[in-house]
Amino acid sequence: MASVRVETKLWVWQRLSAAVLGLCVLVHLGMIIYAVQDGLSAAEIITRVSGNVLWFVFYAVFIVAVAIHAPIGVRTILNEMTNLSPKMTHIVMAVLCLVILVMGFRAIIGLYQAGASL
């Protein structure tokens, strides 16, 4: 059994990140609904976001929060519903966290810089 303290802290982190995500998702959902109103095009997206620091910071926070929140959740599910060992689920959690961070930042950095090349 994993450490009580670690488990408790993971729980706290998941709830904290959920609270942050709550705000992010509201804003994000608002934005997509607004954005899809007249059909998306890549150019549009990019013009809207590239070089916009505020936008970048917002999504950086979003990604960090998801990278904390989702892997912890996935780990719980794996612990409860599969036969994977606790060690294994811990590794999955860490890998998922990394994947989200790397891919997330790759995407927003890309979008942020894309405008410059237009």
């Binding site: 059994m1 450490s3 009580v4 488990e7 408790t8 706290v12 612990n79 519903m81």
Partner: protein, 242 residues
């Protein structure tokens, strides 16, 4: 209304099968009475557990039509609308035989959750002054009438999925004690109920609340523990990694 009911009853232990009996309907008839009728009149080898017959001891809980219930206070009308009844032993516990379960693990978990009083005074002292409308006293009172029937324990999927999980009843008891101002055991108790065998494993499924025959709310007791243990963890009070 037909004047008999078809009752299928679990026979065997972990391995077993349902067996069907036909039992006459009575105006005043609980599920326990139906089971008793079978044992007294049809199959004398049927095993089941009961004691008080009035919802006090929590010995008679079984799975009735798929739901955990106390049987001594479940009127047949409430559960056998279609004239059939399926009775099985309580889920998540080891079956002794037929409908009787072994509850040792359930009680061990009460103990593991430090669900026992840690005294700070002795028999030579007077009663503490505690006002009935004191906030903590009220919180303690909210969960104190648990009869340990195991219904909530059977209604919770986490108990099934996570064998170490202490379960709603034990955690509810722990929360009652956390709010008991006379108790001196909260350091050990919070460490005992934190983590993935304790309160943090609960996903608020609320099957416990839905089924508790005493209308208690283990979910909210557990939520209380989540908050208190999290605070303790952040303050570094839960001790080192074990």
């Amino acid at each position: 209304m037909s004047n008999t009911i078809q009752v299928s009853v679990w026979r065997g232990a972990e391995e077993g099968a349902f067996e069907t009996f036909e039992v006459p309907r009575q105006p005043s008839q609980t599920v326990l009475d139906v089971i008793t009728y079978i044992q007294r009149n049809i199959d004398p080898t049927l095993s089941y557990r009961f004691a008080c017959r009035v919802g006090v001891c929590g010995s008679c809980a079984m799975t009735v039509n798929g739901r955990p219930r106390w049987t001594c206070r479940t009127h047949v009308d409430k559960v056998a609308g279609d004239g059939t009844l399926q009775v099985a032993p309580l889920r998540n516990l080891q079956v002794v035989k037929d409908l009787a379960c072994e509850m040792t693990e359930f009680f061990d978990k009460m103990n593991r959750a430090e669900g026992k009083f840690h005294p700070t005074k002795t028999r030579d002292d007077d009663f503490d002054f505690i006002k009935p409308d004191d906030k903590k006293r009220k919180q303690a009172s909210a969960g104190i009438e648990c009869i340990g029937c195991g219904v909530c324990y059977a209604a919770c999927d986490i108990v099934d999925w996570n064998k170490d999980y202490l379960g709603p009843a034990a955690l509810n008891r722990a929360w009652t004690l956390v709010n008991d101002e006379r108790d001196g055991g909260n350091d050990v108790r919070l460490a005992a109920v934190a983590g993935d065998a304790g309160c943090h494993a609960c996903h608020s499924q609320q099957g416990c609340v839905e089924h508790c025959p005493k209308h208690l709310s283990p979910t909210h007791s557990i939520a209380g523990l989540k908050r208190e243990t999290a605070k303790a963890a952040l303050k570094g009070l839960l001790g080192g990694d074990d």
